[in-house]
C-alpha cells in the first residue's frame, strides 16, 4: 500500500515536471526567436523557406544597434527618468504605508479606501488632461517632472508597505518613544531598516514600471529627451524607411538588459517578498 502510494507520487511528480518543461519551452520560444533574429543578415530575414538559425551569426548587428540611434544618449534619458521616479516612489509609498499601518485616526480607513480606489482610474484619464495642462504652463519636456510623478507612490506598493509594517510589533517603537525619540527618528532608525524586503520589491517595481512606460515619455518629452521606450517603439529603419528587424531585436536586447540583470540578481528576495508580504489579508 505504502509502496503503491509512493510510486503514484513519483509518477505525479514526473507528469508535473513534463508539463512544466513544456510550459518553459513554450515560454522560451519568443525569446529564442528574438535572439536568433538579432543575429541574422538582412537577406536571411526574408529568405524563403525561412532560415531558423543564421549561418554566420552577425554579432555586428549589436554594434549597429548601438551606434545607429545614439543608443547611449537615450539610455541615459531612460535611466534618468527611471531613477527620478523610483526614489520618491519608494519613499512616498513607504511613508503612506507606515501612516496607514500605525496611526489611530478616525478617517484613516476612509482615506485608505480612496487610495485603493485610485487603482480603478485608467492611466490615460489622468495623463492626457495632465499633459494638456502641463504643456500649457510650459513645463513639458522636463525630465525632473518624474521626481514629482513618483511622490504619490502606487496603491499596490502602499498596500505592500502597510502589510509589512503591520507585522512589526508596536513595542519596538514604544520603547524608543519612551526614550524620547521623535516620529521621524523612529521611522528612519528603526522601522525603515526592518522593511528592506519591501523596499527591494518597491524599487524593482517602480524602476521596471518607469523603464517600461511608454505613455508618459511620449507625451511629456520631445526629440532629444525621449526615452528608449519611445525610441525603440518605432523600430530601426534605414534611409528608405525599411524596418530593420534584425537590428531592432539587438536594440531591444540592450533595452531589456537592465531589467533582466536586476530581476535575476534579486529575484529570490523579490518573488518571496511579493508572495509573503503583499498578498495576505
Amino acid at each position: 500500500m505504502a509502496m503503491l502510494q509512493s510510486q503514484r507520487m513519483r509518477l505525479a511528480t514526473a507528469v508535473k515536471l513534463v508539463v512544466l518543461i513544456i510550459f518553459v519551452a513554450i515560454f522560451f520560444l519568443p525569446l529564442v526567436s528574438m535572439i536568433v533574429t538579432s543575429l541574422k543578415t538582412m537577406e536571411e530575414l526574408f529568405k524563403y523557406p525561412p532560415i531558423v538559425f543564421p549561418r554566420n551569426p552577425q554579432w555586428g548587428n549589436y554594434v549597429t544597434a548601438w551606434t545607429m540611434v545614439r543608443f547611449g544618449h537615450f539610455l541615459v534619458n531612460s535611466l534618468t527618468i527611471s531613477i527620478f521616479y523610483t526614489v520618491p516612489c519608494i519613499f512616498g509609498s513607504c511613508f503612506a504605508g507606515y501612516a496607514f499601518s500605525r496611526f489611530r485616526v478616525r478617517e484613516k480607513s476612509g482615506i485608505f479606501m480612496v487610495v485603493l480606489s485610485t487603482m480603478m482610474i485608467p492611466q490615460m484619464v489622468t495623463i492626457i488632461p495632465l499633459y494638456i495642462l502641463i504643456s500649457k504652463i510650459g513645463l513639458a519636456d522636463k525630465q525632473w517632472l518624474w521626481l514629482l510623478f513618483g511622490l504619490q507612490g502606487t496603491p499596490f506598493l502602499i498596500f505592500l508597505f502597510r502589510q509589512y509594517f503591520s507585522t512589526i510589533p508596536i513595542s519596538f517603537e514604544e520603547s524608543a518613544r519612551l526614550d524620547g525619540a521623535g516620529r521621524f527618528r523612529i521611522f528612519f532608525a528603526i522601522m525603515f531598516p526592518l522593511v528592506q524586503t519591501a523596499v527591494i520589491v518597491a524599487g524593482i517595481f517602480a524602476f521596471q514600471w518607469s523603464w517600461a512606460d511608454y505613455l508618459q515619455p511620449v507625451l511629456f518629452l520631445k526629440g532629444e529627451k525621449v526615452t528608449l521606450a519611445v525610441k525603440l517603439a518605432i523600430g530601426y529603419t534605414d534611409q528608405k524607411e525599411n524596418v530593420l528587424h534584425h537590428i531592432g531585436m539587438a536594440g531591444l536586447l540592450y533595452y531589456t538588459a537592465p531589467i533582466i540583470i536586476i530581476f535575476f540578481a534579486l529575484q529570490r528576495r523579490f518573488i518571496a517578498g511579493l508572495m509573503s508580504g503583499g498578498l495576505k489579508g
Partner: protein
C-alpha cells in the same frame, strides 16, 4: 490625552503628505479639469469655446465605430483576464508542492511579466510573423501546420492575447502567495479521509483560493480595458516609418484607449477624446461594482467561524 490624539493626527498627515500632494496634483486636478473639458467643444487650438453639455457623450455613444471599440475592448479584456488567470492557476498548482526545481520554474515563468511592453510587442511581432516568425517554423516542423500562417494579419486579437498569456506571471505569483496561505493540515485530513486530488482541489484549494482569483479578476479586467500600445506595436501593416500612430490598427484591435489617444493627440479633438476616456472610466467603474457585488456569491469567506 487630547494632545496625544492631535499629535497622532498631525504625524499621520505628515507621513501621508506626499501621497496627498500627488493625488491632488496628478489625479484629482486633471480628472476634474478633464471632466469639465469633456462638456465643451474645445479643440487644441481653439481660442473660443463654450459648454455644450453632454453632446460629446451623445456622439460617443451613438458612433457605431466607438461602440464597436467598446465591445471589442470588453471582449478582449474578458478573454485576457480569463486566460491569464487560467494559465497562472494551472502553473501555480503545478508548482504547489514538492516539485524539483520549483524556484527555477517559478522564476522563469514569472520572468516575461517583467519585460517592458514595447519590447514584448516587438518580440511578438517578429515571433508571429509569417515569413521570419519562429512560431510558424516550429509548428510546421512539428507537423501541426501545413503552411505558414500570417497570424498578425489573420488573427490580430488572438496575437495580442498570446502576448498577454506570455506575461501571465503576475497572476502566477498572486496564486502562489494564495496557495501558501492554505493550511497543510486541511490537505492531510482530507487525504486521510480518502479524498483524491480532484476532490481536494474542488473542496479545499479552489474555495480558499477564491478571494485571490476574484481580486486578480477585477484588477486584470481594469488593466486590460486600458490596452493601448500593443495594437500599434503589432500593427500587421508592415511599414510605419517615423510615427507609430500614423497607421491605425485593424478594426478588431482598435481599442477604446487607442481611439481616444488618436482623437486627442493626432486629431486635436480635446473635448471629444476626453469624453471617450471618461466613458471608458465609467464603464470600468460599473464593471468593477458589478463584479464586487457578484464577488459576494463566489468568494469563500469564514464569516461563520469568526462569529
Amino acid at each position: 490625552m487630547g494632545r496625544i490624539k492631535a499629535e497622532n493626527r498631525r504625524s499621520f498627515y505628515i507621513f501621508l503628505a506626499p501621497w496627498i500632494a500627488g493625488f491632488l496634483a496628478f489625479q484629482l486636478a486633471p480628472i476634474g479639469w478633464g471632466l469639465l473639458t469633456s462638456l465643451t467643444n474645445r479643440m487644441a487650438f481653439s481660442i473660443k469655446w463654450k459648454f455644450i453639455g453632454l453632446k460629446n457623450y451623445e456622439s460617443v455613444l451613438t458612433n457605431p465605430d466607438v461602440l464597436y471599440a467598446f465591445m471589442i475592448t470588453f471582449v478582449y479584456a474578458l478573454l485576457h483576464t480569463s486566460l491569464a488567470i487560467l494559465t497562472g492557476l494551472v502553473i501555480a498548482l503545478l508548482l504547489e508542492r514538492k516539485v524539483p526545481g520549483r524556484g527555477v520554474f517559478r522564476t522563469i515563468l514569472y520572468f516575461p511579466y517583467m519585460l517592458p511592453l514595447v519590447a514584448v510587442g516587438w518580440i511578438f511581432k517578429i515571433f508571429l510573423d509569417r515569413d521570419t516568425g519562429f512560431l510558424n517554423e516550429v509548428l510546421v516542423r512539428l507537423g501541426l501546420l501545413k503552411e505558414a500562417v500570417p497570424w498578425l494579419q489573420k488573427y490580430p486579437l488572438q496575437s495580442i492575447l498570446a502576448l498577454a498569456l506570455w506575461q501571465s506571471g503576475w497572476s502566477l505569483v498572486i496564486f502562489l502567495g494564495g496557495l501558501a496561505t492554505v493550511p497543510n493540515e486541511l490537505y492531510e485530513a482530507a487525504t486521510i479521509d480518502g479524498a483524491g486530488y480532484g476532490r481536494r482541489l474542488r473542496h479545499i484549494t479552489l474555495p480558499l483560493l477564491s478571494p485571490f482569483i476574484f481580486f486578480q479578476f477585477v484588477a486584470s479586467m481594469i488593466y486590460a480595458m486600458q490596452t493601448f500600445i500593443q495594437p500599434y506595436l503589432m500593427n500587421p501593416k508592415s511599414h510605419r516609418g517615423e510615427n507609430l500612430f500614423l497607421e491605425t490598427p485593424p478594426r478588431e484591435t482598435f481599442f477604446v484607449m487607442a481611439q481616444a489617444y488618436q482623437q486627442v493627440i493626432e486629431k486635436h479633438r480635446f473635448a471629444y477624446g476626453i469624453s471617450m476616456l471618461w466613458t471608458l472610466f465609467a464603464v470600468v467603474l460599473i464593471i468593477t461594482v458589478i463584479f464586487i457585488r457578484l464577488g459576494g456569491f463566489v468568494v469563500y469567506t469564514e464569516v461563520e467561524e469568526k462569529r
